[in-house]
Symmetry: C2
Subunit: 780 residues, 2 copies
């Protein structure tokens, strides 16, 4: 009695299992079934061929990561020399993808610039030139006058023939609004008619897809085409939106389309998602010129399942994107960075205080924005209002254009605004923001850039900036979620940059007028350049973006790649962490997670904790008064019984048990696979009738002589279903689902099958525990 008993390997139901069948061709539950000696070899041969369609997924279903990964490894084993060919495939795929995405982004940039300038005027010498290109070889070499050249005509000059005066102002105002409305109308119409999936930023949906959900057509060629075109129009229409989020979607579309060139990636949903992860990294890399930031964004924000292999694959994609970017040199300074800044002063310890204040502002703004935007989107979804998307877009565009025109800071391109706010005041800077008294007098007593008393220009700029801040805050809430492509990065950064610049100028003036305060005394001498308002703008932008998206590391990396400000990493980190903490105090979800939940997509967020002490048996079905679980037995059902079970239930899969009496689990068969296999057998095998016996065992059960030919379904049986015991805490179950990417899990008690837990059950349970409506989880 001192030792346990050796379990009999040969169970009664698999007693004829040939031990030679353990070879490679037997490894996969979905693969072949082994070559054991059998009485019905013919039947076996027919069925061992892979049945077409088995192992694919329906739209709006969740993939089974484990199964997909197994399929890939199985394929690997069959292919020799896979290492080199795979390297080449991946390289090629990534290169194609990154290069194409980069090229598209370049086209979008140029087209959006042109259309944006079209709102103000037109280049007479060459229609296809934007304002800057038009005045490129103008004679006006003065820096302040660089925008005015004879070739460039505003609409008022063109139509009314006069450049100044109230009439021409109204004409320009009218044309500005007219073009904005036209672009917006065109954008929303194209989206509505051709590709409804092209709207929004796309990042929430990509997160859902990467977490293993199937949305057919979301990354298709139509979406790509329409999104590219409408993105240009939406940006040009002047709506408070950015092009960075949609560019990630565009890059993922490219990745998806290119993956069809390689069956390895197109046929395996898990492998495809690895490509998409890399593509999203390339997207950010392309959008911002931030390769490392892109990789981290993909890791921290987008990807659900991120093996280390994907890390360096993303890295490679980002490398190629950065390289192509450098070859194209779009920013004209042979640098990779979009908003390159060069500050001449270090920061001081005291400045951490305003930086943290900006972090608090960012966190509050993020929390407020998420709540307001989600409330508005929910209202749009639930009321009649959402039925007129075109009208809504046009209304928002009209309000935006009308309010934006009078204020120079809202009229201009948002990314140019950010660039201006980030820039430190130098001697060449002609902007209103840099009108300091010492420079106005022309008396260069202090070196350029040093702190000085603000002139009226700065005060009026402050007013205009404050109005712009309020305007951007309100409009962004109503814009994000419209049925046009709309990103959130640039508007959020603009809001933060405005707030930051205002705080920066305030601190600067404080230091100028009170440089004998104990706070400033030690480090800020008269005439020295102690405060850099541009740095405050940068920190504010990072804080606001952090508040909205709740990114931390990737955001800091993106910002310092954007600006080249490696020395300001501590201020950035402090602001971003503060912003995250403040934001999290009001709600732990970032805007993307909030939108995923609003859409009801089944995404198990890796960041959210599951803090409840429930057990698996409280979550599994059947519960309490539910009808019993639909199960199949391994060898004593007829085809008619099987079909009636399938038709009378809506489950996606059925556990297969040894017998009703013992309830011991054998495996799991998916509904889709069973249906396909039955149809396939009916078409290909003769003698399959309604009273044919269906069996999942290795060999056919002994049948009476007159019974019709049995149907073997072992090849579609998953013989390694995941099981947990009924006492398993739900936190462990949630962990397993997240980490392994499961679709369902069976619950046993003392070796007997009790029930089943699907991803949907878990999401419903989580919603219930959080006092939300469990019916908001819509898909399977």
């Amino acid at each position: 009695m001192q030792c346990g008993v050796l379990v009999d390997y040969c169970d009664v139901f698999i007693s004829c299992l040939d031990s030679h069948s353990d070879g490679p061709n037997y490894a996969m539950s979905n693969g072949g079934g082994g070559a054991g000696a059998s009485i019905s070899t013919h039947l076996l041969d027919l069925l061992e061929e892979p049945i077409p369609g088995v192992g694919t997924y329906d739209d709006f279903h969740t993939i089974d990561w484990v199964r997909e990964k197994c399929k890939d490894r199985e394929r690997h084993r069959k292919v020799t020399h896979h290492l080199i060919s795979e390297c080449i495939t991946i390289s090629l795929l990534n290169e194609l993808n990154a290069a194409f995405a980069r090229a598209l982004a370049g086209v979008i940039d140029i087209a959006a610039d042109w259309l944006n300038d079209l709102k103000e005027g037109v280049c007479l010498s060459a229609m296809w030139f934007n304002h800057e290109q038009c005045c490129w070889d103008s004679n006006e070499t003065t820096f302040a006058e660089r925008d005015k050249c004879p070739q460039w005509k505003t609409w008022a000059e063109l139509i009314l023939g006069q450049a100044e005066g109230p009439g021409s102002y109204i004409m320009n105002y009218f044309m500005f609004t007219f073009w904005a409305l036209s672009f917006a109308f065109l954008a929303v119409s194209l989206v509505k008619v051709f590709a409804p999936y092209a709207c929004g930023s796309g990042i929430p949906e990509i997160k859902t897809i990467l977490s293993g959900f199937i949305i057919r057509g979301y990354l298709g060629k139509w979406t790509l085409m329409i999104k590219t075109i409408t993105l240009v129009l939406a940006v040009a229409s002047g709506l408070s939106l950015g092009k960075e989020g949609p560019l990630v979607h565009v890059a993922c579309c490219c990745g998806n389309i290119f993956s069809y060139l390689f069956p390895k990636y197109s046929k395996n949903e898990a492998k495809k998602r690895e490509v998409l992860s890399a593509a999203s990294a390339a997207g950010v890399s392309v959008a911002f010129g931030a390769p490392i930031g892109g990789v981290l964004f993909s890791l921290e924000e987008v990807s659900y399942y991120f093996p280390l292999k994907t890390l360096w694959r993303s890295f490679f994609a980002a490398l190629v994107a950065a390289f192509v970017l450098r070859s194209i040199n779009p920013f004209g300074n042979s640098r990779l960075v979009l908003f390159y800044v060069e500050y001449h002063t270090p920061w001081y310890l005291f400045e951490l205080f305003p930086f943290i204040l900006l972090g608090v502002f960012g966190g509050l703004w993020g929390a407020f924005f998420i709540r307001a935007n989600i409330a508005w989107c929910r209202r749009r979804k639930s009321t009649r209002f959402g039925k007129y998307p075109v009208l809504e877009v046009i209304t928002v565009a009209a309000i935006t254009a009308i309010v934006a025109f009078p204020n120079p800071y809202t009229r201009q391109n948002t990314s140019e605004l950010i660039k201006e706010l980030f820039t430190d005041c130098g001697p060449l800077e002609s902007s209103q923001l840099c009108q300091y008294r010492s420079q106005m007098n022309g008396s260069q007593a202090y070196p350029a850039g040093s702190d000085a008393a603000a002139a009226p220009g700065v005060y009026s700029a402050m007013w205009q900036l404050s109005l712009a801040l309020v305007f951007k805050i309100i409009m962004t809430i109503f814009t994000f979620g419209l049925k046009v492509p709309s990103g959130l990065f640039i508007p959020s950064m603009a809001i933060g940059a405005i707030a930051g610049r205002i705080v920066g100028i305030a601190v600067e003036q404080l230091a100028y007028y009170h440089h004998d305060w104990f706070l400033f005394r030690e480090w800020c001498e008269v005439g020295a350049d102690c405060i850099t308002p541009g740095l405050y703008a940068m920190v504010g932008a990072a804080a606001c973006l952090g508040g909205v998206t709740r990114m931390t590391v990737s955001l800091v990396v993106i910002v310092f790649e954007l600006t080249g400000g490696l020395e300001y990493i501590v201020p950035l980190m402090a602001a971003v962490m503060t912003s995250k903490w403040v934001g999290d105090a009001f709600g732990r979800e970032g805007i993307y997670e909030a939108h995923i939940r609003l859409n009801g997509s089944p995404s198990l967020d890796a960041k959210e904790e599951f803090p409840h002490p429930t057990l698996a048996r409280e979550v599994m079905r059947p519960r309490g008064n539910d009808p019993p679980l639909a199960v199949l037995t391994q060898d004593d059902m007829t085809l008619a019984e099987l079909q009636s079970i399938i038709s009378q239930t809506s489950c996606n899969g059925f556990p297969v048990i040894v017998s009703k009496e013992s309830q011991r689990l054998v495996g799991f068969a998916l509904r889709r696979d069973i249906t396909i296999a039955i149809e396939n057998a009916r078409r290909k095998q003769e003698g399959i009738m309604l009273n044919s016996r269906v069996y999942f065992t290795q060999h056919a059960p002994t049948l009476p002589a007159d019974s019709p030919r049995p149907l073997k379904l072992r090849s579609i049986l998953d013989m390694s279903p995941f099981t947990v015991t009924d006492h398993t805490p739900m936190e462990i179950v949630v962990d397993i689902f997240r980490k392994l990417g499961l679709r369902q899990c069976l619950v046993t008690h003392n070796g007997r099958l009790l029930g089943i837990i699907t991803k949907k059950d878990i999401l419903r349970h989580m919603a219930q525990m959080a006092n939300q409506d469990p019916e908001s989880i819509m898909f399977n």
Copy 2:
């Protein structure tokens, strides 16, 4: 027949399970056992108290991540307002840790500098000044002469009274060697006597610990103290080693020691590892001044289990470390960066070719180094040679000192060498490497720093550098693995920097003499500064470090944080990727993984794939002719039987089954827990005898009236053991073990227990599949 049968929830063995006991206090298998009405309330009460010692681990055992995480969540639920207090705890812990690690690193820096200079001479005005501090306020203001000041005396001047001549050279040579040997002897003796764990870089062991292995004392206070002291000595002895890897170990020691201030972290092995992950990030942050790189290093290289929570916790630790670093300002330039470089020229497309060449060199060096070093370490381990560590260290130190002294590039501090190699030649640069002809003639025809013909100084520097390269390559192989603290970052970077500088100067001279070649014609005019040899050194350093460690993203980030060279990200990425590919072609393991395998630690590397088509039943025990699996039955064993099973087997745990006949699995009990529980019961409960019945069920089985008091062990039973079916492919099992951090997993077939797979079984199987000796896996 159309639907499955609802499984009877009330199994015969748990028929009295009270349904009210589903509340929170019942959630944990290790927690309490519920409050169902019982006949033996007294007994229950006694046993429901947590038994001291249950749930802890022995030395050199693997932790069970799932159980640890559950314990923490259980604790969470009991503590109210945990969010704020936890935030404060974490912040405090991280701050303490990062600040302390930073302070220690500062002390190490200063002490190592002083000792290093002591080898050459001594400061007469103040003994505790190093060379630089000694000459700080010297009158010699010439840049070239800054090293020579009257206060600083070389040993020859002090002892022989003369500064020049062969006699003084020999005297200096002798003293240099003498001090080097003394330091090395002291270091190895201290390590040997006080803390054997203080040797090596510590990163392989930390990786093992983070993957869930217990090595008591490895992160203790003695290790910390001795490692700090001996690190200073080892660096000062001039051995070819760096202090960056050991600093990560030191930071982890700090993290471990500070975690004892908070029971939450000290009592939970999984939580402690989260702190250690953050500590390792702080360590790199402190060592290099690279906060983001530290976080990524922790993610890519060190951590096994890295939840996103840890990401921003590491980020916070790195932030604090960076902040403290900035407050201390050790590099004297108010920058965070160690090797700050400023290059004035962009790179050109053609230069990618030499950069990739450097990548190839780095990969080859990495592969060669790993093989050679592992072969040498294995030899040390297996032969008598390893029994004299002190002798070995002294021999290596003597050879190093004797060979290093004559060559200025090997005599100087390695990190100063790297700094010199990274620096671009400016007009102020007096080093031999910058002796170009145009500058020598004093005719500043071209702007400083522009390409020029090399003068003899450069050629002799090239020779010396080549010799230094060979010397460093050979010595590093024999140094890494000595019984002194030794890091690999700095020597690897030095080798790469030397190779890079040589290639850079070669390309520069090529461009100078052949600027009409088609390769150079377009972008390199005469007199222009086209090639920056310092950039080549930086790229080479990154490539070599990448070849040795196989880091990618984190390495690039570390290097550009080290140098501030954000614009050179594409060259860096290209070189690092090439180096990784070339290195991987010779063997996929980095140096740390290779050392882990050499040590036989049970670490399932997340990067390695498991490509074999085996099934779970081929790996599980018992196999073939093995004795049957030792199992416990849930209610029909006596204490004597239980004890005899425990004493006759060496398994770490035993599955509990319903009965020998049904073989249905109930749960899993750990050997250690059973032993502790029995001892505890014997001490506290009366009437426990050898023929007492042991039961794992909720209620005591009905016993004859005269039988002794039964012993209830349900509280130590893990009622949610992980199970897989015997048909599960091993690749899935490996994946589950990796992702969930399991210690063991039970194998079932059709609901019956077949066997068990432990982490050790998997590692043995993997070794077998790779044709290695399975017995090299030593621990459990």
